[in-house]
């Protein structure tokens, strides 16, 4: 018997990255990784997990959520009324207590993700000045490997470098900033628009070619030049883009122009559901879906990937680095509102919202999200997300899976929505149903590939032993909301919804190489404007729990 050797016996494997679609196989684990089957048939594992009749997939990967950092923490403090009425997460021998609501506490976030079979998650919007805070919260978010994207679409140095036509400075700055924050990827949120919001009352950019006050650059330049620098740096996930004009009727043209601004470079457009609207002038009567032309573009341009940002009906909390959007939403819903200006870097808006199926706009948003899953031909380029908690909680993923795998259920819910949804979107005419293999792609293999995580999202030798075992059920929502077993780094962490091991997980980050001579210019600018000292800015490695560098640090030289 070999110590720490585990065998998952006779499970039905869905491992699309390795071309395995529902095949009954054994899976071997050692040292926290998946290994090839031992050549000696007499090898005895220390533990055998009988998985006959069960579905085995890699652990889920949420590539776009908001689970840590300053804005998430503000949202938690802002919604005591929600927490008071939410399910209580009680302490056990291996877990901390916690709170739920639309913005769960750190520990509860980890337990709930793991309880649903997810083992990796990325926070999508951390201002570099909040990076230390995000890492500290990661250290209290168990059961998950984690990373975050670094806000830089409204960073003054980024815009200044573009204005001065200094692509080398821009490239060095992006690499320096990612390294200083210990982040994973560049994130552009309403590029240029947040800066205009800081300059003018209710300010924003109107499209890709609006000039940003003071800097004289356009969102198109920010998108294309950051994408170019990221490509040259060889980042595993080059650029993660929240387009301009989120939520506005008629914004689909901005989204299309953003895709074009990439000029063939790799780029990921996030929560694209919120950016796929026809109509104009804020008029609800003209609001409609424009997924068809946008999906056509995605289908014919392999450089573009998307995640959906599915809306689910119910109450939630909107939190965004898009300051003007937060203001817009707070005016619509009339509730409490938080707005923040993060010095030279970013903005933020937070407000409670409620999606109602009887509202034409909300029901259309729900339908538009589902259209995206069903109209993109290649599942490797569409990823499941709710933009947690903006479109809904990550806990709604099993329900989304049911929508995708069961068209009768989908159509039944559509019938409860505002009657005009059928005419303003194509959802009623879409009969596609996802297979389990396709679900494994959009929740695991696809996001791993898009993020450049070679050790995740698959079950081949060398992969991290992050594995979820489900009990098959006709109702896919039931199947996916309560896995039989969840294995993280080779250890069983959840059994039938009960957390057995609350390990914290790894921090995934990048450290691209850059021209260190460029630091002098960055430092001069930094010391002129920032409220903290240069030497205090970079996140010390001691803040990171089990750091894992993704990609080669030698790329980009």
């Amino acid at each position: 018997m070999t110590k720490d050797l585990i065998k998952i016996s006779q499970g039905t494997l869905y491992d699309p990255a390795n071309g395995v679609d529902g095949e009954v196989r054994d899976l071997w684990i050692q040292g926290g990784r998946i290994i090839a089957a031992p050549s000696d048939p007499a090898t005895k594992p220390a533990r055998t997990i009988e998985a006959e009749g069960l579905v085995v997939m890699p652990g889920g990967i949420d590539m776009h959520c908001h689970i840590a950092g300053p804005k998430v923490n503000v949202a938690r403090k802002m919604r005591p009324e929600e927490k008071r009425k939410a399910e209580v997460i009680s302490r056990t021998d291996v877990t901390h207590s916690g709170t739920l609501g639309s913005v769960p506490s750190t520990f509860a976030t980890g337990y709930k993700y793991a309880g649903m079979g997810y083992t990796t998650a990325f926070d999508a919007a951390i201002p570099p000045l909040g990076a230390r805070h995000a890492h500290e919260e990661f250290d209290d978010t168990p059961c998950l490997d984690k990373g975050f994207y670094v806000l830089m679409g409204n960073n003054h140095y980024v815009m200044q470098s573009i204005q001065q036509n200094e692509p080398k400075k821009l490239k060095a700055f992006i690499a320096w900033l990612l390294t200083a924050a210990k982040g994973f990827a560049p994130k552009l949120v309403n590029p240029g628009g947040v800066e205009v919001w800081k300059h003018r009352q209710a300010g924003n950019v109107s499209g890709l070619d609006t000039e940003v006050d003071h800097f004289g650059v356009t969102p198109r330049q920010i998108v294309s030049q950051v994408a170019q620098s990221a490509q040259e740096l060889g980042l595993p996930h080059p650029v993660h883009i929240h387009c301009n004009n989120l939520g506005m009727p008629g914004n689909w043209e901005t989204t299309l122009e953003t895709m074009r601004a990439l000029e063939g470079r790799r780029g990921h457009l996030t929560h694209i559901q919120f950016h796929s609207y026809g109509g104009g002038e804020g008029d609800e009567n003209t609001f409609n879906s424009k997924v068809v032309p946008l999906a056509d573009y995605v289908n014919s341009h392999p450089n573009v990937t998307i995640d959906v940002g599915q809306v689910l009906f119910g109450e939630t909390t909107s939190m965004t680095g898009d300051g003007p959007l937060g203001y817009f939403l707070s005016n619509i819903y009339g509730g409490k509102w938080f707005s923040s200006d993060t010095e030279m870097e970013a903005g933020c808006g937070i407000t409670p919202i409620k999606y109602k199926n009887k509202s034409l706009v909300h029901a259309l948003q729900w339908a538009i999200g589902l259209e995206w899953y069903l109209l993109v031909d290649d599942p490797w380029r569409v990823v499941m997300s709710t933009d947690h908690p903006n479109g809904g909680s990550f806990l709604a993923y099993p329900q989304i899976i049911r929508f995708l795998m069961d068209r009768t259920y989908r159509q039944d819910v559509l019938k409860t929505c505002h009657p005009l949804v059928g005419r303003r979107s194509t959802l009623a005419d879409l009969h596609r149903e996802y297979t389990l293999n396709e679900i494994a792609i959009i929740t695991r293999a696809g996001p791993a590939r898009i993020l450049g995580l070679t050790n995740k999202g698959h079950l081949g030798p060398g992969a991290d032993a992050d594995i979820t075992i489900y009990t098959p059920h006709e109702n896919k929502e039931i199947m996916f909301e309560l896995p039989r077993l969840v294995i993280k780094s080779g250890e069983v962490i959840v059994e039938q919804g009960e957390v057995r091991d609350s390990r914290i997980g790894k921090t995934l980050h990048v450290a691209p190489a850059y021209d260190v001579d460029a630091e002098a210019d960055i430092q001069e600018w930094f010391e002129k404007y920032y409220s903290i000292r240069w030497r205090n800015y970079p996140v010390d490695p001691s803040y990171m729990h089990q750091p894992e560098l993704i990609g080669s640090p030698n790329h980009g030289n």
Binding site: M78, R79, P80, E81, E82, R84, G335
Partner: protein, 275 residues
């Protein structure tokens, strides 16, 4: 025959009996009732460890005996029946109640009737802060029902209340009706500073002596003998709330505000009789 609970606890640590309502108890045996889980600080205990339980709850009536000022959430979430506290009670009495009535012979702690939706509460002594208020973060406080306090009440009475009636026989604290959405609060004693700050609609009646200066965002509207005031006072008298007839028929100065919010609220300031 009501269910009688005699408090036997001797502790300075808060005791919480949230969820112990007449509806829950009505079909339970005494043995089951004695096992109802309460909190003593962060420890869960059966009810019988802190209360002697007698009688039965089939008629939806509770009689609570002893000094219950350290026992909180009495009658919270109740929807029917009657609870009579023969002494003082703690915080959150009648919180989020939807029906039934609660009578307190002594004093009540803070958050009396917080976020209550319907029902009736009468405190013969005084109440703490935040009577009928919204809990922190909530969009609405009390949305219906009636709370009568014969004695004094603390600050922020009627915070963000949406509907319903609160009457304070004695003095009310500061920021009466703070951020009030609608509803009625009448104070028959003195009142603390800044009444009606941020109120959108609703009525505050400052019917006692020495009314405070109003915020500059309130505008004088008129002076009038309001027909509705004696009607409201009659309604309160019918519920056993003592009001002098001179007050019920007093002439009032009426102010509109708060103009920093919607500005559709009103504050009535009663002219005091010459006696």
């Amino acid at each position: 025959m009501p269910l009688t609970l005699t408090y036997t606890g001797q502790t300075s640590v808060p005791v919480e009996i949230e969820g112990f309502t007449p509806s829950w108890a009505k079909d339970k045996s005494l043995a089951e009732i004695e096992q109802f889980e309460i909190f003593h600080g962060n420890q869960k205990l059966p009810l019988a460890e802190m209360f002697r339980v007698e009688g039965n709850a089939s008629d939806l009536r509770f009689d609570l005996e002893g000094d219950l000022s350290g026992v909180h959430w009495i009658g919270a979430h109740m929807s029917e029946g009657a609870i009579h506290i023969h002494g003082s009670g703690g915080r959150h009495i009648g919180s989020e109640m939807r029906g039934g009535e609660i009578h307190v012979d002594g004093d009540a702690g803070g958050w009396l009737g917080a976020e209550m939706h319907a029902g009736f509460i009468h405190v013969q002594g005084s109440a703490g802060h935040l009577v009928g208020a919204a809990y922190r973060g909530s969009a609405k406080g009390m949305t219906g029902g009636m709370i009568l306090v014969d004695g004094d009440a603390g600050n922020e009475v009627g915070l963000t209340m949406r509907r319903g009636m609160i009457a304070i026989g004695g003095r009310a604290g500061d920021v009466l009706g703070f951020n009030m959405i609608a509803g009625t609060v009448l104070v028959f004693g003195e009142c603390g500073i800044r009444p009606g700050a941020g109120m959108r609609r609703g009525t505050l009646g400052l019917l006692g002596p020495n009314p405070p200066a109003l915020l500059p965002s309130f505008r004088y509207a008129c002076t009038s003998h309001l027909q509705v005031l004696p009607m409201m006072c009659n309604q309160l008298r019918e519920q056993g709330f003592g009001i002098e007839s001179s007050v019920a028929n007093a002439e009032c100065d009426i102010y509109s505000g708060d103009l920093v919010a919607l500005g559709k609220g009103e504050i009535l300031i009663a002219h005091q009789s010459a006696s």
